[in-house]
Point group: C2
Chain length 335, copies 2
Amino acid sequence: MKVTIKDVAREANVATSTVSRVLSDNPRISEETKIRVNEAIKRLNYKPNPIARSLAKNKTRILGVVLPNEADDLLSNPFFVNAMKGMSMYAQSKNYYITYAFSKNKENELENIKEMTQSHLVDGIIMLRVKENDESIEYLKDSKFPFVVVGRPENPDEILWVDNNNFQAMYEVVNKLIQKGHKRIGFVGAIKNLNMSKDRYKGYEKALEANKIKLDQSIIVYKDEFKESEGEFGCRELLKNEDLTAIIATDDLLAFGVLKELRSNKIKNIATVGFNNTQLAQYQKPPLASVDINADKLGYKAAKLLIETLEEEDKTNTNRHYIVKTEFIKRDSFM
Amino acid sequence: MKVTIKDVAREANVATSTVSRVLSDNPRISEETKIRVNEAIKRLNYKPNPIARSLAKNKTRILGVVLPNEADDLLSNPFFVNAMKGMSMYAQSKNYYITYAFSKNKENELENIKEMTQSHLVDGIIMLRVKENDESIEYLKDSKFPFVVVGRPENPDEILWVDNNNFQAMYEVVNKLIQKGHKRIGFVGAIKNLNMSKDRYKGYEKALEANKIKLDQSIIVYKDEFKESEGEFGCRELLKNEDLTAIIATDDLLAFGVLKELRSNKIKNIATVGFNNTQLAQYQKPPLASVDINADKLGYKAAKLLIETLEEEDKTNTNRHYIVKTEFIKRDSFM
DNA sequence: TTGTAAGCGTTATCAC
DNA sequence: GTGATAACGCTTACAA
């Protein structure tokens, strides 16, 4: 029924070890037998059994991904699906498989990770978002299990990660606003102590500085969560400054709230920009300009980094990362 | 370093086969040794190696899912992510893993499926959408590879599937419209020969019939694709009938187009209902009423059906299916 | 009830 | 260059 390496060996009149060598492109094998074996393989339609191979090599070629399960994020944020797609694309090209686990809630993410590392099923793990003081990352680091993080971790030492240049992205957006003539640009952020938040804030700060615009703490607000309602509140606070001409939000959800608040105040002349280029951005009133973070590329590069690390001989180089370009998506709210 | 069944056997002073028996809850094993072995397992923090187990049992406990890669579907339609979540949830509860492959394009879906069936890696496959004359399904059926389909296939014989009752769902929606007083209800569908299309159309037909409303072909249009633009064209055709008071679309994307066309004609008194309860439905002008198909449950049940089939002794019962309830989500467009 | 040993399909080590 | 054969970690007859 199912054809194994033995059948191929018999068919080609060689030992199984020879077939195995042909399979792995071993150099010391004669052209002649290589051809003979390959013909046998084709004739029998032989496919190596990855399970047996995994057992012998102690490597599975399977990568694990733990996804958050909160409906909000997963559905409204194209980030996840896009990142998954990107990872899958690279993995497939390298004959790796990916298995996803949705963690039931925030609390048991570490649980899921532990299970994965101890499962003997995955060679490495990709983490799709970084929390501050991320215990999952701490755990992975301590356990020496190969992993890569999407999003620059707090302490990137000896961690493989992929991220956008959030500083640069924000710097450029604010610059664009300034070039449009804006001088009073409000800032709405959330969860201050995320690396991402810090970087975007710094980008804001430096762009103002580079343009000789004085930083004004009264038009900078931070909220607790990346939620539309928080954006509304934030905007309300900012509107106490009547000279505001633009508002930059560090996330689309916040920006949606800003737009909502502006609408309910019948304000039509304050430019607004968000981050992540969420699906819904284009459907806002007015359509929201946003910074696309290229999630598929983030995923792609994450898988690449992980697989490269898994396959390289000396594992000392544990400190690499990729930066993925962002793209400003101009829409009507940028005015 | 890594602890195997041998270590446990040594620790508990038994043979590896005994440990294996304890692991698999074999009945003929004394309480005493069971306890001893379990203690050893705990002491050594032993986790069975699923790869070795797979090789021995010739079963991997891994399910394969092939996803379409077209940005449209995958991102705008919450169906996929929700279904994936549902599948993942059930699989995890049964200690199964799921591996996803994004097919590069429609053409190579069959390619992906073939690869999966021959990979020796997955025990079964879940198909996430049915085309008409689906060659992937034909292939899977012919190859006797275990699989389940989300969406009732054309010829459901000897196929495991999960779906909504599309007939019923449509019947009820149209009934609701009629009860609201609507008598002239336009119908916009696409891809007529999909089972889903046929069922929804029949629901429409029967609901009219049950309410003694005469079927009028001139207010029924079919387009080529589930796209917003097709919805617009469809609506334009329907509007030739000036007495229309409601339009039912078999998909949210079509309904979006309908709403758009209505808006651009400044028509505000035609009720509209879509299907799938897409993320964007609530953001339409007016917010679109839609039928939620409970995608997570579809995925959950699909995984359940597949796993149950994989685990049952006699494989003769290849003809089961689940029906997942739909839910009408009322929004302003339902008036 | 428990142990022995063969077997799952590969790869890797060691001969020749 | 190629072939035997042990080994990977587990399950499962078959024995005892």
